[in-house]
Symmetry: C3
Subunit: 189 residues, 3 copies
Amino acid sequence: MGATRVIETLVLSLLLLLSSSSATQRKKTRAAPRMPCKQMVFYFHDILYNGENAKNATSAIVGAPAWGNRTILAGQNHFGNVVVFDDPITLNNNLLSIPVGRAQGFYLYDRKDYFTAWLGFSFFFNSTQHRGSITFAGADPLNKTRDISVIGGTGDFFMARGIATLMTDAVEGDVYFRLQVYIKLFECW
Amino acid sequence: MGATRVIETLVLSLLLLLSSSSATQRKKTRAAPRMPCKQMVFYFHDILYNGENAKNATSAIVGAPAWGNRTILAGQNHFGNVVVFDDPITLNNNLLSIPVGRAQGFYLYDRKDYFTAWLGFSFFFNSTQHRGSITFAGADPLNKTRDISVIGGTGDFFMARGIATLMTDAVEGDVYFRLQVYIKLFECW
Amino acid sequence: MGATRVIETLVLSLLLLLSSSSATQRKKTRAAPRMPCKQMVFYFHDILYNGENAKNATSAIVGAPAWGNRTILAGQNHFGNVVVFDDPITLNNNLLSIPVGRAQGFYLYDRKDYFTAWLGFSFFFNSTQHRGSITFAGADPLNKTRDISVIGGTGDFFMARGIATLMTDAVEGDVYFRLQVYIKLFECW
């Protein structure tokens, strides 16, 4: 009798547990804590073409509003400028250290009254350490630190999802900037 | 004896339940019904720069085909025009109501024989109500209502995925349009 | 007494199972094997506007670096060229076979020293066979075969995620290319 009652309680509580867990799964609402399954820090270096640095430039203005051109970033906080880039990725903040991959894609400036950007790009790796790509997209308010989304990956980063915290690590006029990218993946396969 | 048999049945059925649930999880094939874990409706307002509205414009043509320019949308259904925008987001369809965020990114017209577009943009929020971003991408056939993908999010919308149903709520020539965006998230963390 | 001990063991092992499964779910770390839940192969055909093929062209240069223009792809491996396209999708490699959908979006060339591209586009279907869209993004190193990410979907491809293996199936000068796209979805709803 005592055993039967224990079993009944057991069955009920387990069914409760199971049903709540399966409901969670269907809706994919997850509880804290949010622990990344993979974390990495990289830097990338952008040297913008300005009419005089064709050899060193890693990026170029390819779109501009009617009031701008493709050699000098436009007024009004560069609103409307679209820049295509192929920037070296390094493990530290030294532009001259050996690249471990390439940051490739575009950014555009999208606000008239102060600096904000929108980014669509990938980190592309083809070395013994990392092989594959991580793709990012999102609004960049250009604060001290800001998050964008990791929307996909291939190879070593197959099906990756997560966020990347960007920090502008250096700026030299309109020609050079360096970003620190702290990648936190929350979906790893 | 009776108790032992009940336990056996219990163990078997629970193992069965558990194994089926873990198989589901691996393949991530989900059954109906598809219930959003979060739903929201917003409006955003796009005022395209046309050479005369520099002060009010929230967007600008930054790319055009060889037969177009950056002040007037091109012929052939604007095929090839790329527009960068920073549009106010409101809770209702009134352009003058207080913005709750900014819609930032780009759209491009991609079809010669009728209107279609492709969108890459984010909703960016920085208020007491919402803090963070939602990023969207996808083809926009410019039907009465159409779905695009929610591909990521940050902050309050960390790791968001889902769809957004767009509805063009108003159009005034080539200068102004207003979109209703009905966001349905199916992955919430 | 025996029954009680069995129950205790049962409770413990089940709790263990449940907790480990819920931990897996939170981190979403998945084990091999990686089996797609859906696989499809398509071709799409890109005919680039070159100033003389306005009628047949399915794509156009809409962005170029300062040293380029919008009729001829720029030197330095077309670095900085942005192309908007609306290309027919076919089930085989014949340009003239009946399209089953449209590939719509953009690609840009992003490297000076050899050919690489970055892609943001959707497959848009509106037939009895497929209705909905699949959205792709990522770096394209333009190797023999390469993977990009499937970042979202709508309609029949609601919430799709996965990868697409691209293979350049034909190239004719700067005017025509054909891509084979082998889509492998790993998240299907």
